[in-house]
Protein backbone atom coordinates (compact mmCIF):
# COMPACT_ATOMS: atom_id res chain seq x y z
CA UNK A 1 0.00 0.00 0.00
CA UNK A 2 1.66 3.18 -1.15
CA UNK A 3 1.36 6.15 1.05
CA UNK A 4 3.72 9.01 0.65
CA UNK A 5 2.24 11.48 3.07
CA UNK A 6 3.67 11.74 6.53
CA UNK A 7 1.48 10.94 9.45
CA UNK A 8 2.33 13.31 12.21
CA UNK A 9 -0.96 13.04 14.07
CA UNK A 10 -1.38 9.28 13.93
CA UNK A 11 2.09 8.60 15.24
CA UNK A 12 0.86 9.61 18.65
CA UNK A 13 -1.65 6.80 18.75
CA UNK A 14 -0.08 3.40 18.32
CA UNK A 15 -3.37 1.54 18.37
CA UNK A 16 -4.91 3.66 15.70
CA UNK A 17 -1.85 3.06 13.56
CA UNK A 18 -2.28 -0.68 13.96
CA UNK A 19 -5.90 -0.38 12.88
CA UNK A 20 -4.63 1.54 9.89
CA UNK A 21 -2.32 -1.33 9.05
CA UNK A 22 -5.14 -3.82 9.53
CA UNK A 23 -7.39 -1.89 7.16
CA UNK A 24 -4.60 -1.70 4.61
CA UNK A 25 -4.03 -5.43 4.90
CA UNK A 26 -7.68 -6.16 4.26
CA UNK A 27 -7.70 -3.82 1.28
CA UNK A 28 -4.63 -5.50 -0.18
CA UNK A 29 -6.21 -8.90 0.31
CA UNK A 30 -9.34 -7.71 -1.45
CA UNK A 31 -7.35 -6.67 -4.47
CA UNK A 32 -6.80 -2.96 -4.14
CA UNK A 33 -3.42 -1.69 -5.11
CA UNK A 34 -3.49 1.54 -3.17
CA UNK A 35 -5.87 3.74 -1.33
CA UNK A 36 -6.72 7.37 -0.91
CA UNK A 37 -5.75 8.70 2.44
CA UNK A 38 -9.28 9.81 3.24
CA UNK A 39 -10.77 6.43 2.35
CA UNK A 40 -8.24 4.69 4.56
CA UNK A 41 -9.03 7.00 7.44
CA UNK A 42 -12.76 6.52 6.94
CA UNK A 43 -12.40 2.76 7.10
CA UNK A 44 -10.20 3.05 10.16
CA UNK A 45 -12.89 5.11 11.80
CA UNK A 46 -15.48 2.53 10.78
CA UNK A 47 -13.57 -0.31 12.36
CA UNK A 48 -12.91 1.67 15.51
CA UNK A 49 -16.60 2.46 15.81
CA UNK A 50 -17.33 -1.19 15.20
CA UNK A 51 -15.29 -2.24 18.20
CA UNK A 52 -16.77 0.42 20.41
CA UNK A 53 -20.29 -0.41 19.36
CA UNK A 54 -19.88 -4.17 19.76
CA UNK A 55 -18.31 -3.66 23.16
CA UNK A 56 -21.03 -1.34 24.31
CA UNK A 57 -23.83 -3.50 23.00
CA UNK A 58 -22.40 -6.78 24.32
CA UNK A 59 -21.91 -5.21 27.72
CA UNK A 60 -25.51 -4.06 27.75
CA UNK A 61 -26.81 -7.52 26.83
CA UNK A 62 -24.61 -9.02 29.49
CA UNK A 63 -25.78 -6.67 32.20
CA UNK A 64 -29.36 -7.13 31.15
CA UNK A 65 -29.06 -10.77 32.19
CA UNK A 66 -27.42 -9.85 35.47
CA UNK A 67 -23.93 -11.03 34.64
CA UNK A 68 -20.74 -9.09 34.75
CA UNK A 69 -18.65 -11.06 32.29
CA UNK A 70 -19.87 -11.23 28.69
CA UNK A 71 -20.37 -14.66 27.19
CA UNK A 72 -20.52 -15.79 23.57
CA UNK A 73 -24.26 -15.23 23.43
CA UNK A 74 -23.91 -11.57 24.33
CA UNK A 75 -21.36 -11.00 21.62
CA UNK A 76 -23.46 -12.85 19.09
CA UNK A 77 -26.53 -10.84 20.04
CA UNK A 78 -24.56 -7.65 19.71
CA UNK A 79 -23.25 -8.61 16.28
CA UNK A 80 -26.62 -9.80 15.01
CA UNK A 81 -28.39 -6.75 16.35
CA UNK A 82 -25.92 -4.57 14.48
CA UNK A 83 -26.75 -6.48 11.32
CA UNK A 84 -23.33 -8.06 10.93
CA UNK A 85 -23.57 -11.38 9.17
CA UNK A 86 -21.83 -14.14 11.10
CA UNK A 87 -22.45 -16.77 8.48
CA UNK A 88 -19.21 -17.02 6.62
CA UNK A 89 -16.98 -16.14 9.51
CA UNK A 90 -15.47 -19.61 9.78
CA UNK A 91 -14.54 -19.68 6.12
CA UNK A 92 -13.14 -16.20 6.47
CA UNK A 93 -10.99 -17.30 9.40
CA UNK A 94 -9.57 -20.18 7.39
CA UNK A 95 -8.70 -18.11 4.33
CA UNK A 96 -5.25 -18.71 2.94
CA UNK A 97 -2.37 -16.23 3.05
CA UNK A 98 -3.61 -14.20 5.92
CA UNK A 99 -1.33 -11.70 7.47
CA UNK A 100 -0.87 -11.33 11.21
CA UNK A 101 0.15 -7.95 12.56
CA UNK A 102 2.64 -7.96 15.36
CA UNK A 103 1.26 -6.60 18.61
CA UNK A 104 2.71 -3.28 19.75
CA UNK A 105 5.60 -3.28 22.12
CA UNK A 106 4.56 -2.68 25.64
CA UNK A 107 6.52 0.15 27.14
CA UNK A 108 7.31 -0.49 30.76
CA UNK A 109 5.69 2.02 33.05
CA UNK A 110 8.30 3.86 35.08
CA UNK A 111 7.80 3.43 38.78
CA UNK A 112 7.48 6.58 40.74
Amino acid sequence: MTENTEKPESSCDARRRILNIAVSTVLLETGFESSDRIALETLTEVIQCFFTEVGNSAKSYCELTGRTEPVLGDVMMALINMGISVQGIEQYAARPKRHVIQPPQQASVPRT
Partner: protein, 129 residues
Protein backbone atom coordinates in the same frame (compact mmCIF):
# COMPACT_ATOMS: atom_id res chain seq x y z
CA UNK B 1 -30.23 -15.97 1.33
CA UNK B 2 -33.00 -13.85 2.83
CA UNK B 3 -35.31 -14.95 0.06
CA UNK B 4 -34.71 -18.63 0.64
CA UNK B 5 -35.47 -18.18 4.31
CA UNK B 6 -38.75 -16.54 3.54
CA UNK B 7 -39.55 -19.40 1.20
CA UNK B 8 -38.93 -22.10 3.77
CA UNK B 9 -39.04 -20.82 7.32
CA UNK B 10 -38.59 -24.20 8.97
CA UNK B 11 -35.38 -24.85 7.08
CA UNK B 12 -34.16 -21.40 8.02
CA UNK B 13 -34.77 -22.14 11.69
CA UNK B 14 -32.80 -25.35 11.42
CA UNK B 15 -29.96 -23.53 9.77
CA UNK B 16 -29.94 -20.96 12.53
CA UNK B 17 -29.63 -23.44 15.34
CA UNK B 18 -27.00 -25.27 13.34
CA UNK B 19 -25.07 -22.05 12.95
CA UNK B 20 -25.30 -21.47 16.69
CA UNK B 21 -23.80 -24.85 17.44
CA UNK B 22 -21.14 -24.37 14.82
CA UNK B 23 -20.20 -21.05 16.36
CA UNK B 24 -19.73 -22.43 19.84
CA UNK B 25 -17.54 -25.12 18.29
CA UNK B 26 -15.76 -22.46 16.34
CA UNK B 27 -15.10 -20.54 19.52
CA UNK B 28 -13.11 -23.51 20.79
CA UNK B 29 -11.01 -23.42 17.66
CA UNK B 30 -10.15 -19.81 18.31
CA UNK B 31 -7.95 -20.90 21.20
CA UNK B 32 -4.98 -21.31 18.88
CA UNK B 33 -5.90 -18.75 16.28
CA UNK B 34 -4.37 -15.36 15.72
CA UNK B 35 -6.47 -12.80 13.86
CA UNK B 36 -4.69 -10.07 11.93
CA UNK B 37 -5.51 -7.43 14.49
CA UNK B 38 -3.60 -7.99 17.73
CA UNK B 39 -5.67 -8.93 20.75
CA UNK B 40 -4.35 -6.07 22.81
CA UNK B 41 -5.55 -3.46 20.33
CA UNK B 42 -9.05 -4.91 20.10
CA UNK B 43 -9.20 -5.34 23.85
CA UNK B 44 -8.27 -1.71 24.32
CA UNK B 45 -11.18 -0.45 22.25
CA UNK B 46 -13.56 -2.93 23.85
CA UNK B 47 -12.46 -1.86 27.29
CA UNK B 48 -13.05 1.74 26.30
CA UNK B 49 -16.68 0.78 25.71
CA UNK B 50 -16.93 -1.01 29.05
CA UNK B 51 -16.60 -4.53 27.73
CA UNK B 52 -14.19 -6.48 29.85
CA UNK B 53 -13.63 -10.15 29.23
CA UNK B 54 -11.02 -12.51 30.55
CA UNK B 55 -11.63 -14.79 27.60
CA UNK B 56 -9.31 -14.01 24.70
CA UNK B 57 -11.45 -16.09 22.35
CA UNK B 58 -14.25 -13.58 22.57
CA UNK B 59 -11.90 -10.80 21.60
CA UNK B 60 -10.63 -12.86 18.69
CA UNK B 61 -14.16 -13.50 17.53
CA UNK B 62 -14.89 -9.79 17.52
CA UNK B 63 -11.65 -9.10 15.70
CA UNK B 64 -12.58 -11.64 13.06
CA UNK B 65 -16.08 -10.28 12.71
CA UNK B 66 -14.75 -6.77 12.25
CA UNK B 67 -12.30 -7.94 9.65
CA UNK B 68 -14.94 -9.78 7.74
CA UNK B 69 -17.19 -6.75 7.86
CA UNK B 70 -14.40 -4.63 6.50
CA UNK B 71 -13.61 -7.20 3.87
CA UNK B 72 -17.23 -7.24 2.71
CA UNK B 73 -17.23 -3.47 2.41
CA UNK B 74 -13.94 -3.52 0.54
CA UNK B 75 -15.28 -6.15 -1.82
CA UNK B 76 -18.29 -4.00 -2.63
CA UNK B 77 -16.06 -1.01 -3.17
CA UNK B 78 -13.89 -3.08 -5.48
CA UNK B 79 -16.90 -4.04 -7.57
CA UNK B 80 -17.88 -0.37 -7.80
CA UNK B 81 -14.34 0.48 -8.76
CA UNK B 82 -14.23 -2.21 -11.42
CA UNK B 83 -17.52 -1.09 -12.92
CA UNK B 84 -16.49 2.53 -12.95
CA UNK B 85 -13.09 1.89 -14.52
CA UNK B 86 -14.49 -0.52 -17.11
CA UNK B 87 -17.03 2.05 -18.27
CA UNK B 88 -14.27 4.63 -18.44
CA UNK B 89 -12.14 2.28 -20.50
CA UNK B 90 -15.02 1.65 -22.86
CA UNK B 91 -15.45 5.38 -23.32
CA UNK B 92 -11.78 5.99 -24.04
CA UNK B 93 -11.07 2.81 -25.95
CA UNK B 94 -9.65 4.85 -28.81
CA UNK B 95 -6.41 5.54 -27.01
CA UNK B 96 -6.22 2.20 -25.28
CA UNK B 97 -3.02 1.57 -23.42
CA UNK B 98 -3.84 -2.06 -22.87
CA UNK B 99 -6.34 -3.26 -20.32
CA UNK B 100 -3.74 -5.34 -18.53
CA UNK B 101 -2.27 -2.58 -16.41
CA UNK B 102 -5.22 -2.10 -14.13
CA UNK B 103 -4.51 -0.82 -10.71
CA UNK B 104 -7.39 -0.46 -8.37
CA UNK B 105 -7.27 2.52 -6.09
CA UNK B 106 -9.66 2.75 -3.17
CA UNK B 107 -11.26 6.15 -3.42
CA UNK B 108 -14.17 7.84 -1.70
CA UNK B 109 -16.20 7.60 -4.91
CA UNK B 110 -16.32 3.84 -4.54
CA UNK B 111 -16.29 3.70 -0.77
CA UNK B 112 -19.30 5.91 -0.16
CA UNK B 113 -21.84 3.74 -2.06
CA UNK B 114 -20.32 0.60 -0.52
CA UNK B 115 -20.70 2.00 2.96
CA UNK B 116 -24.20 3.16 2.15
CA UNK B 117 -25.22 -0.43 1.51
CA UNK B 118 -24.14 -1.30 5.02
CA UNK B 119 -26.06 1.57 6.52
CA UNK B 120 -23.15 3.89 7.06
CA UNK B 121 -23.53 7.29 5.53
CA UNK B 122 -20.19 8.88 4.86
CA UNK B 123 -19.56 12.20 3.25
CA UNK B 124 -16.39 13.58 1.91
CA UNK B 125 -15.65 16.73 3.84
CA UNK B 126 -14.70 19.70 1.72
CA UNK B 127 -11.85 20.75 3.89
CA UNK B 128 -10.01 17.45 4.18
CA UNK B 129 -6.66 17.56 2.45
Amino acid sequence: MQMSRIGSPSVGMDEDSGAGHALSDFLLQLENYNPSIPDSVVAYYLNMAGFESQDPRMIRLIALASQKFLSDIANDALQHCKMRTSSQINQSSKNAKGPKEKKYVMSMEDLVPALQEYGISAKKPHYYV
